[in-house]
């Protein structure tokens, strides 16, 4: 066994059907495009992560001693822009969603395979522009690029970064469009809406936000560009404009964008919890419709980012109320996931560990959202590290945990190989510990009053201890994120070949080969069972396939 097995599965699949660069760059296969996305977003994840590490190193000491003020401002700006627009938003939808949506509903591909490829190219064009922007000096506006700072004051190359975001936005719109049409039109016979995996419901809700929300950020960027180049006076008060208008437009997209990041992760976690507790998900329809409710209510809460921005007390009141309304469907999901475990038969494979990690971190992230939605408290903690901690618990604790859990769960399907389980469990643990060590101290820092985006806190050295804890945690977290990349790469060559359904999981994607053939199914599947039919799968006459490993 000295020679690694290169092709464990002799049969033709999407990976070995064709070789060569052009077979990838011109592919219209949703699975190959998913892998193109996987490579590109991983690249950007590590760029964004590198910036984060530099930020944490700078904050190790109160004085601004590692980098210059402008450099630091560019670091957190580029960290935010890269992570939000080039990693988190495309992460689960464009990789796992792209790979799995057709497989899960029994389709041969997405509805518009060429548009799918186009969306990747748009992502790459935007990505190259962003990289060029970084390499030629970067941007220092903050990822929120508020007017009039970004429109009238910054000297950095903001226009290019804005155009990069503009372009990558269309990639997101096209992915959403593709998913909506695919889910409506291409479900296999018998795959009714009530039989859809909840992963699909979550992606459907996400796609609606992408379709309806992303154009607003595109329009906003056009207005900002007009303001910068033509000085139209849309946001500039000296010309009769209103800088708060920018914030309304920006958050009208960027708040729902948080749900673009977290909803798919919720979908992933739902699949994992069902599989590893061997149960139908508790309250299927409540979990499904809570995704839709989040998508709808998510559009009505944007001004909760603006309670101290100069909006009236009465509009603040309305947006505070609506923010509590959007918290409810998320709470319902958490309760249903917890209830699913009840009387389950729970396995502790790595994907499930990530799902548990998601539950813990998302719960903390969600509950601290209740603090921020409370008007009286938000005045004190907004724009402090409390907010930084809160949204990292949702967008990194929640979304990235879900993403990693999903990558482990479907890795055998994607690569045809098993990842090393021991390493994977260790990585899940390291990520969980590192994450909490990094971000929990920031809640305390925030309530003590440390503002965001300060590179020098020598005026308030009492904040150092908590910052040192946070920096220490970030190095642990960094190791936790590097490990999966290493052993996934390792497993592509040395991993044990995966069977078609190594988890004995429900769902159509497990009923085809690992890796799947180019058109997914040798014959069109006909669905005659409900989602999460684990009872049938585990029934004694079928139990010759061992559960887990």
């Amino acid at each position: 066994m000295a020679t690694p097995i290169l092709q464990p599965v002799e049969r033709e699949n999407y990976l070995n059907k064709e070789y060569g660069v052009w077979s990838w760059l011109l592919t219209t296969d949703h699975k190959r495009i998913a892998l193109l996305y996987l490579l590109s977003i991983t690249f950007f994840f590590f760029i964004g992560g590198f910036f984060a590490l530099l930020i944490r190193l700078e904050l190790l000491t109160p004085a601004g001693d590692l980098v210059q003020a402008d450099t630091y401002n560019k670091l957190f700006t580029m960290h935010g822009m890269v992570m939000v627009f080039f990693f988190l938003i495309p992460s689960i939808p464009a990789v796992l969603g792209n790979f799995l949506v057709p497989l899960m509903i029994g389709a041969k591909d997405l509805a518009f395979p060429r548009i799918n490829l186009l969306s990747w190219y748009l992502y790459i064009i935007g990505g190259v522009m962003m990289l060029h922007c970084i390499l030629t000096g970067g941007v220092d506006t903050g990822w929120t690029f508020y007017a009039p700072l970004a429109t009238n004051f910054t000297n950095s190359n903001f226009t290019e970064a804005a155009l990069a975001i503009f372009v990558v936005g269309f990639s997101s719109i096209l992915t959403g469009l593709n998913f909506v049409v695919t889910i409506h039109r291409m479900r296999a016979p018998g795959m009714t809406w009530s039989r859809l995996p909840l992963f699909i419901w979550a992606h459907y809700a996400t796609s609606i936000i992408q379709l309806l929300g992303t154009p607003v950020i595109a329009v906003t960027i056009v207005l900002v560009a007009c303001e910068r180049v033509l000085h139209l006076g849309i946001f500039d008060p000296k010309l009769g404009g209103d800088p708060i208008l920018f914030q309304h437009l920006f958050w009208f997209y960027s708040h729902p964008a948080v749900y673009i990041m977290i909803l798919p992760s919720m979908g992933v976690v739902t699949e994992i919890i069902a599989c590893f507790s061997r149960k139908r998900i508790f309250g299927y329809s409540f979990v499904a419709f809570s995704s839709i409710a989040i998508a709808v209510f998510g559009f009505l809460v944007w001004a909760h980012h603006m309670f101290v921005a100069g909006i009236s007390v009465y509009s603040a009141l309305v947006f505070s109320f609506l923010s509590y309304a959007v918290a409810l469907p998320s709470a319902i999901k958490v309760f249903n996931w917890t209830a699913t475990l009840y009387k389950g038969s729970i396995h502790y494979d790595a994907p499930m560990l990530y799902a548990f990690g998601f539950l813990g971190l998302f719960t903390i992230g969600g509950l601290t959202g209740l603090f921020l939605a409370a008007l009286g408290i938000d005045v004190h903690v907004t724009d402090t590290y409390f907010v930084v901690a809160h949204f990292h618990y949702i967008m990194v604790g929640g979304a990235v945990m879900g993403y990693l859990g999903g990558m482990h769960f479907w890795w055998p399907k994607i690569s045809g190989r098993l990842y090393p389980e021991g390493w994977a469990r260790l990585a899940a643990l390291i990520v969980f510990i590192g994450f909490n060590l990094t971000f929990f101290p920031q809640f305390v820092l925030g309530y003590m009053g440390m503002p965001r985006r300060y590179f020098d806190y020598s005026h308030m050295p009492e904040f150092q201890v908590l910052n040192v804890l946070s920096t220490a945690g970030s190095t642990v977290l960094g190791v936790g994120y590097l490990l999966p990349m290493l052993y996934f790469l390792w497993s592509m060559r040395y991993g044990k070949p995966a069977s078609d359904n190594p988890w004995n999981a429900a769902g159509l994607e497990w009923k085809t080969a690992s890796p799947p053939p180019t058109f997914n199914f040798d014959e069109e599947p006909v669905v005659t069972w409900e989602a999460y039919n684990y009872e049938e799968l585990d029934a004694p006459h079928k139990s010759e396939v061992p559960v887990g490993r």
Partner: protein
């Protein structure tokens, strides 16, 4: 006790206690919710771990449970919402007789001007026990005036005024931060809030005043030629500004607005935007001709000639001030002994 807890911010304003009370309530409530969820997760994870031969029990769901765990959190949420709103209204409603301090933010410093004329940079001196209202604007980008020990924060915008208020409860030096990212030296835009006992504060006030803000406003009102049209009788080409502050104003386009600080400011910088009914659009704009500080002085002056509002920084703490007269013209005119009272307009009431 909380003040000595090193992981807790100092509590130095009347609002801080209200905010902290709600915060502690939230810590308890969300802590209980988290414990409940985590306890269930851990218990289920341990109790229902995989055992050979023990299959999972399939449960479809339960509408009764769904309703319960939607309704109870919703009620809790509404309680938090209501409490948060009550605290917020306190934070956002400055007392009518608060002392007024003008703040101008710019990249990257805070310029402070007291109604009595004292100017400070990156520092604000206030006495214990007095309501202070900050009237703030920015010369360039958006900043945010944040005092953690007081639990207050308000963005400071170019092109308009925003206000926040506090009443300090404890002498000391507290952090002032810019909380809205404003460019290169954002983290250098910090300062100190110096809260003093009334006597010390009086002593500080006695040093180096250039006269009340409204007095420099009055001077400017003459120099810029405002007074040629805005006469104190009905004969002027512009409206008589005596007593206009805080009153409803009928506009040419039929709307009615209240003449607050923002309206006065807008009329100076963009006179055509909200023209008073019955007057011709003859006033030139002063955009670019006057600095933010000068606009503040003009606004302070116009407020000082209005009878209905005891504006300005007059009301000292009970110990040193005489009983306050009922509001009348220039009630603001400096109960403080050292202020150059004769610099006030002739109508002012001198104690």
């Amino acid at each position: 006790m909380l003040n000595n807890f090193p992981l807790w911010p100092q509590q130095a304003s009347t609002l801080a206690a209200h905010v902290d009370a709600l915060y502690i309530f939230l810590l308890i409530v969300t802590g209980m919710m988290a414990m409940l969820i985590f306890a269930c997760l851990i218990y289920f994870a341990a109790r229902y771990r995989y055992r050979p031969g023990v299959p999972a029990e399939q449960i479809e769901g339960s509408n009764a449970l769904e309703i319960t765990w939607s309704a109870i959190p919703f009620l809790v949420f509404m309680a938090i919402f209501a409490w948060g709103a009550v605290v917020f209204f306190k934070e956002r409603t400055p007392p009518a007789d608060a002392a007024e301090v003008y703040v101008v933010a710019k990249q990257w410093m805070w310029k402070v001007e007291h109604a009595e004329g004292q100017r400070e940079i990156n520092e604000l001196h206030v006495p214990v026990g007095r309501d202070v209202k900050l009237i703030m604007t920015s010369q360039d980008v958006i900043h945010s005036f944040y005092i953690p020990a007081f639990r207050i924060k308000q963005d400071v915008l170019p092109g308009r005024y925003t206000v926040e208020w506090f009443r300090a409860t404890k002498p000391g030096v507290y952090h002032l931060f810019c909380a809205e990212y404003c460019g290169t030296q954002h983290s250098g835009m910090v300062g100190d809030i110096v809260v003093q006992e009334p006597a010390q504060y009086e002593a500080w006030m006695n040093g180096g005043s250039t006269g009340p803000l409204s007095a420099s406003g009055e001077k400017m009102f003459g120099e810029l030629g405002c007074s040629t049209c805005h006469r104190s009788d009905a004969q002027g080409r512009g409206p008589n500004l005596q007593g206009v502050y805080g009153q409803p104003v009928q506009l040419e386009d039929g709307r009615t607005v209240t003449a607050d600080e923002n309206y006065l400011r807008e009329c100076i910088l963009d006179p055509g935007a909200k023209r008073v009914k019955g007057f011709q659009p003859v006033m030139p704009t002063f955009q670019g001709l006057v600095s933010e500080e000068q606009v503040n002085a003009l606004v302070a002056y116009i407020k000082s000639i209005s009878a209905n509002k005891p504006a300005g920084g007059a009301k000292t703490s009970a110990s040193s001030s005489p009983p306050r007269e009922p509001d009348r013209i220039q009630a603001q005119a400096n109960v403080k002994v050292q202020a150059p009272l004769n610099a006030q307009p002739s109508t002012s009431q001198v104690h």
